[in-house]
């Protein structure tokens, strides 16, 4: 009888049972609803073993590549070791570099005590001594020696104020993760990619852009970075250098307030993007930054023809203010 290993215990599974049914029969409280591979409530992650294609049908590519599957329609041939979505260990790390790279944007580089397996564009939760925790997207590539985060200074924000004012190189922190499904997935090298973000929403996009290039992506890649004013843009020189070097990469900085210049688009970022690309059928999109803007852009990209499964979004939700 094949077994399912979950949270340190192995449960027997009848040949006719789905993974979900076997867990439920064995008294495991696993979330579920439709039991037909439709609603997504029973999403789990395979650590070991082979997940049949049926159990991943309809999932985004980035979920599949991480082993996510729907337990209610999963009938594996052999044993399977599985985990809940989002259960990660904490890893010690040292602040390796702190540098202001734009107005109110600190580039934080970390050296982790052990290798952290991640995809650029995913996020980690940074934990300071005392337990204060905030999540930041990863802008670096796995082969780079440090994990790079972009931390915007938030008025009254405890972690960002600490990183901007008090923290110094050598300070100890820890990271939990990575999490998130907003990253490049190899396999469709000719697909046009649209990367849109505001503020430090650039961090994951910068990681995703370089990851796509590293994987030899051949289709056009268009990066739009929006800010209120010119001063809110950052990494502009670096991004121009990348666009100069790769003919299929285009970089468009955009500001909400300002006058149109050769090197700058003016207007709301969603308008700037859709003026340039009104039809997006066949494209893949990555949208990161302010939650209201992410919501708006997702909808607009979808209505412009981008497939719902081709839209990857990461909304930066600010932490609740605590006194």
């Amino acid at each position: 009888m094949p077994g399912i290993t979950f949270e340190g215990r192995t449960y027997p599974r009848e040949q006719s049972e789905s993974v979900l049914d076997a867990l439920l029969r064995n008294g495991v409280q696993a979330p579920h609803s439709c039991k037909a591979g439709s609603c997504g409530s029973c999403l789990m992650r395979a650590e070991q073993g082979v997940v049949p294609a049926r159990a991943q049908a309809g999932l985004k590519d980035s979920w599949r590549s991480q082993g996510y599957f729907l337990a209610c329609v999963c009938h594996p041939d052999g044993d399977l070791a599985i985990s809940k979505v989002g259960s990660d260990a904490e890893l010690g790390a040292t602040l390796a570099d702190l540098r202001l790279i734009g107005a109110g944007v600190m580039r934080v580089r970390l050296h982790c005590d052990a290798a952290l397996s991640f995809r650029p564009g995913q996020y980690v939760t940074l934990v300071r001594e005392g337990g204060l925790a905030r999540s930041y997207s990863i802008a670096s590539l796995p082969e780079e020696s440090a994990i790079e985060l972009h931390v915007r200074r938030v008025e009254g924000g405890q972690m960002s104020t600490w990183l901007h004012e008090t923290a110094s190189v050598g300070d100890r922190v820890s990271v939990i993760g990575p999490s998130g499904e907003c990253f490049y997935v190899p396999g469709k090298e000719d697909q046009p990619l649209l990367l849109v973000g505001t503020g430090t929403g650039l961090a994951p996009l910068y990681g995703i852009l370089r990851d796509a290039l590293r994987h030899g992506h051949r289709g056009p890649i268009h990066l739009f970075h929006g800010a209120l004013h010119r001063g809110g843009l950052y990494l502009t020189e670096e991004l121009r250098r990348i666009a100069d070097r790769y003919s299929h990469v285009e970089y468009t900085p955009a500001v909400l307030n300002g006058t149109a210049e050769d090197d700058l688009a003016v207007g709301a970022i969603d308008d700037v993007v859709l003026r340039r690309f009104p039809k997006l059928a066949g494209w893949r999109g990555y949208v990161c930054g302010d939650p209201a803007l992410v919501k708006l852009l997702r909808k607009k990209l979808f209505l412009s023809g981008m497939g719902s499964r081709e839209i990857y979004a990461d909304a930066f939700v600010p932490a609740a203010q605590t006194s």
Binding site: K295, F302, L303, S308
Partner: protein, 126 residues
């Protein structure tokens, strides 16, 4: 292979791949339609898409077993916000347009509309 009458409606329509092909077309239509868009404009688009996929699977005669009670509970908050017959009519109309767009034959579209119609009383909590 020609569909035969021994196949279920769900099989005749093409099963899950057909649902996947129709769900974006359908959701784009309801989101763009001023009559009903406000009932579908969720913060979480993935969750909305999953709901529409469940809905299409159900009206395709597929393997989703929602009870009348589920349908009532799932739509009660929308009824409170004014969901009525005119909105159900609009959704069934957009459903038909979507299926036509992905190439479903008329006699099957009529069956799908019939299943959607049969959920009307539960959806409207009558």
């Amino acid at each position: 292979m020609e569909p035969t009458s021994s196949q279920s409606l769900y099989e005749q329509l093409g099963g899950e791949p057909a649902v996947d092909a129709a769900v974006d077309v359908f959701y784009r239509k309801v989101l763009s339609d001023d009559r009903v868009s406000r009932f579908f404009d969720d913060v979480d688009m993935d969750r909305q898409i999953a709901k529409q996929k469940s809905f299409l699977t159900m009206v395709f005669g597929g393997p989703v077993a929602y009870t009348g009670k589920d349908m009532r509970a799932g739509h009660a908050h929308l009824v409170e916000r004014g969901l009525d017959d005119s909105h159900v009519d609009a959704v069934i109309e957009l459903l038909g347009q979507s299926l036509r767009e992905v190439g479903a034959p008329e006699h099957l579209i009529a069956k799908v509309a019939g299943i959607a119609e049969s959920a009307r009383a539960d959806v409207l909590n009558r």
